[in-house]
Amino acid sequence: MNAAVVPAVEVEDLTVAYTGSPVLWDLDLQVLPGTRTAIVGPNGAGKSTLIKAVMGLIEPVAGAVRIFGKPGREVRGSIAYVPQRATLEWDFPTDVLDVVTMGTYGRLGWFRRPGPPERATAEAALEQVEMSSFAHRPIAQLSGGQQQRVLLARALAQDAEIYLLDEPFQGVDAPTERAIVRVLDDLATAGRTVVVVHHDLQTVAEYFNHVALLNVRIIAAGPVVTTFTDENLRLTFGGRVGVLAARTAMGD
């Protein structure tokens, strides 16, 4: 354990419940700076909920979230969120560049409009996801993969320390997948922290160096080489509700 390094994201005793049944139960998780972590688990395991709780978008029943040691609320701008694209209504009157520029809004004050510097940032972000030629395309005319890249560019425009992505590879075409992986590589080179809710078990070892196996509780978390084992996967995905299985695994 690196006691000296402040975790980029630290979750402690986090419990989230909707009307009675727990979605996340007593979660402890530490994400170290500069790592690429995959969050993996079956459907309904609470993966998206974890991301939202880290972002401060939902109130937990118990527990705390700390970003670089400070409460989440104080450091809002330093996390960039890339939501599932299906959660948005894409039939919206605006173009790609406009959406990407939204990433700069956090930096501007209340009454300021985005200007040339913000535009330049947005254009650079678009360049990174290889969508520069789409700058003035209405977003209603984008394919699924293009939508995903636009949301990624929006997050890049924030120039944040931590990036949280919710299933970015879900249902995208091969060029988009390659573009996203390239961006993740760039972020790793720049020393940023990346956390991705990932659905494709085949590519976990290829794209990530850390993994958290989640099924309402954390089944296991750590470097991919030691944590992404058949046994842990079986505990996460197979059989009964994760709480019981996790208890057995942790020897409670």
Partner: protein, 363 residues
Amino acid sequence: MALGAGLLGAVSGFLGSFAVLRRQSLLGDALSHAALPGIALAFLITGGKATVPILIGAAVTGWVGTLVVRLIVRRSRVPYDAALGLVLSVFFGLGLVLLTVIQKRPDAAQAGLETYLFGQAAALLRADVIVMAVVATVVLLVLMLAWKEMKVLTFDRAYGESLGLPMGRLDGLVTALLVVTIVLGLQTVGVVLMSAMIVAPGAAARQWTRSLGSMVTVAAGIGVAAGVSGAVLSSLFPRLPTGPTIVLILSALVAVSLLMAPGRGLVWRRLQLGRLRGRPRQEPVLMHLHALSLQHPDDPEHGHEVSVLRTMSPPDTDVDAALTALAERGLAASDSKGLWAPTEMGRREAQRTLERLDRGDKR
């Protein structure tokens, strides 16, 4: 008086655009219907038809309605839109019952309360118009100052929250402005149709625009146009209630927008498809002509019989029609013996198609 209706139209257009984009159109409907019992109660309590108490009553029950909706959604498994519909109907029914009770009373003052059902712009006082102007100014200010926040709130509220933008407070402010607008509009357009006033301008404007700014502006313009013309018409013909008149004009504008708008309109799309439909059939025939002509590199004018082309094409192809169309476009020509060959333009067009296919472009 037309000014009041025009202002109302403008504000409805501004706010309604956002309601439409946020898929909250039903909320406006529920709010305006839920206001009816408040109007009736205000009359019963104050004994008169003074505007201020009535509008306060409308606002109160409208607001209570939204609380009930939230309660239903939180405590039961009823989905949001069903809860809205529920509240809308129940409150409106209650309001109607109260109205009939009022009408049974031997009270001259109650005459005219039904104008709140369908609106009567002629009843607008100068004070009402001033209030509407104030609200319009406030809405404009909010939109101008918090434009980017409004954009994020409407498109991706969660993302705005993640940035630390005050989405909750802005949402509350916009909803409050919407309630005020609806309440103010009840006098002009009436309870039953106020929701159309909110939704129609935005829905129509959406068909014509590509940016949020132009959508909101066009919606306001539509709102003003319908409001003013409806109010003027209904004052010229005293038996014409304002609400339905304005809404009819709005509906006509929406219908035109849905059908005719370039890029999205149904009629426009049908025309586009028609133009494109012909072309794919011609293209293979042109390619066949081109292939044939390539076999005679020294004699590009060498024509071929239609039957040859028919053999080369799939059996259901109307080769003659394709050839006629190609000739009209100057891509192919027939000589005096009825033999067909591609023109210079036709050859170039065929060449372009080949290159496109080579590049792997999908068409």
